[in-house]
């Protein structure tokens, strides 16, 4: 039978009767296809940011390249082909989707005043001003120019900085630049991967 594998439905749909390449009737299935709600999802291979194991992950993004749709992440799973984790993820890695899509994500700065039991919103400008003043005051009060044996050290012992594992490379670069220029030694940006 000289039917190419490419001929399925191409001529027969136009005529009203849907037939497969070999003539089997698929009219009800063609009708069913018109009622289906079908969505496009893309898979992106990436690396889990949480620890130094560097497990491979696959991120599923719904609506990628689709019309009238904002792409959003719907699922994150372990990459079964990745040599490190072969599809497995720890409980923290399994929750990665919530690192990306989370209704409890902070969208503006908040402050907890000394002695207070609650966080309150604060404006960006006010937050920046207060942090600058406190950094200046703390650094001036705790700066060590020379150690007890008279050696020049120029360090700031009153400030520490801790980062988070999902901080980006660019953010960590700026953190190190800023903290080292202040003389901060207690610096941990949690860059592991």
């Amino acid at each position: 039978m000289a039917i190419s594998r490419r001929t399925f439905l191409q001529s027969s749909l136009a005529g009203g009767a849907a037939l497969t390449a070999f003539g089997f009737d698929v009219t009800p299935l063609a009708a069913q296809s018109r009622t289906l709600k079908i969505e496009r999802t893309s898979e992106t291979r990436s690396t889990c940011p949480y620890c130094s194991v560097s497990c491979g992950i696959i991120i599923h993004t719904l609506g990628d390249k689709a019309k009238n749709a904002t792409p959003h992440v719907v699922h994150v799973e372990g990459d079964p082909d990745h040599p490190i984790n072969r599809g497995t993820l720890c409980p923290k890695g399994s929750s990665l989707e919530q690192d990306i899509v989370n209704s409890r994500r902070l969208l503006r700065p908040e402050v907890r005043r000394p002695g207070s039991d609650r966080w309150e919103p604060i404006g960006w400008d006010q937050a920046l001003d207060e942090i600058s003043r406190k950094v200046k005051a703390t650094r001036d009060a705790t700066f060590v120019a020379q150690d007890p044996r008279g050696r020049t050290v120029n360090r700031c012992e009153g400030i520490a900085f801790t980062g988070g594992c999902t901080d980006t490379n660019e953010f960590n670069y700026l953190v190190v630049k800023t903290m080292r220029s202040l003389g901060v030694c207690y610096l941990e940006n949690q860059a592991r991967v």
Partner: protein, 269 residues
């Protein structure tokens, strides 16, 4: 975790036995009104292939298509005779022509189909034979390599579909391809086009229909080809080749959206 060598799927032949495929086809036909006519026919065709496989299991096979022609003819005659009452007119014409052809023509048709392109009739006859060879580990004679980048490590055939499942080496969601001719299942990577090897995530996507979440259409925008994937981590009792045919509505949708299937199913969807 030990790195295990990928194994050719003899276990999967057991896992998706003829009986299991037949039972699944009847089960899906009963449950799915739209797919019932196609699945009822397919179930009957599977039963005939199953009978042929049982007949071939009793015969000695060499793997050389020309040497095995007598065994093939013995198994093929009853299944083709019975299939005449099930199939649409173009297929019946082809079957009748093959049934009434001389031994030389019959042999030439099957040899050509084995080595190159097989239509419905030849594939219907050759599938149980190829599965027997795979199950008995008899190396088959040379076939033309599949047109795409992925070809069956046993017989060189094109992939019929992807299966997403856990296996010895991979936990959950690992992808394997299943051969359209000998049903061998072999491991393959995710997020790569089985036909052209495209790896750019922006040119690959999968389409899923609400209510049919265990079957995806894995499409490539570079070669405009697609392959369906049956996710048995979502539906454990799915039998991939049968569930693929039961969801032929997705194929209609894919063709209407400009995609072309890497390899049609036995019934041409």
């Amino acid at each position: 975790m030990p790195l295990t060598r990928p194994q050719l799927g003899h276990d999967h032949h057991m896992e998706y036995s003829w009986d299991r495929r037949v039972a699944r086809a009847h089960q899906l036909a009963a449950a799915n009104e739209d797919a019932r006519p196609l699945l009822t026919t397919y179930a009957r065709l599977l039963e005939l292939q199953s009978d042929a496989a049982r007949a071939l299991a009793q015969l000695s096979l060499t793997g050389g298509i020309e040497q095995d022609l007598h065994a093939l003819a013995t198994a093929a005659h009853p299944m083709l005779t019975a299939a005449v009452t099930l199939c649409p007119l173009p297929v019946v014409t082809a079957i009748t022509r093959l049934l009434h052809s001389s031994d030389t023509v019959f042999a030439a048709a099957l040899v050509h189909a084995w080595e190159d392109t097989a239509g419905f009739t030849e594939r219907f006859v050759l599938q149980p034979y190829a599965e027997q060879l795979a199950a008995r580990r008899i190396a088959p004679s040379i076939r033309r390599a599949a047109h795409g980048r992925s070809s069956c490590p046993f017989c060189g055939g094109s992939p019929q579909l992807s299966i997403l499942h856990a296996d010895d080496a991979r936990h959950g969601g690992g992808r394997s391809l299943q051969c359209a001719m000998c049903s061998t299942i072999w491991p393959s990577r995710r997020v790569v086009c089985a036909n052209c090897g495209e790896e750019d995530e922006h040119r690959l996507a999968y389409y899923v229909a609400t209510g049919l979440e265990h079957v995806r259409v894995d499409a490539c925008d570079t070669c405009r080809q697609y392959l369906k994937a049956v996710d048995v981590t979502r539906l454990g009792h799915a039998v991939p080749v049968v569930d693929e045919i039961a969801t032929s509505a997705l194929d209609v949708w894919a063709v209407q959206h400009g995609y072309c299937k890497v390899e049609l199913s036995l019934v041409g969807t």
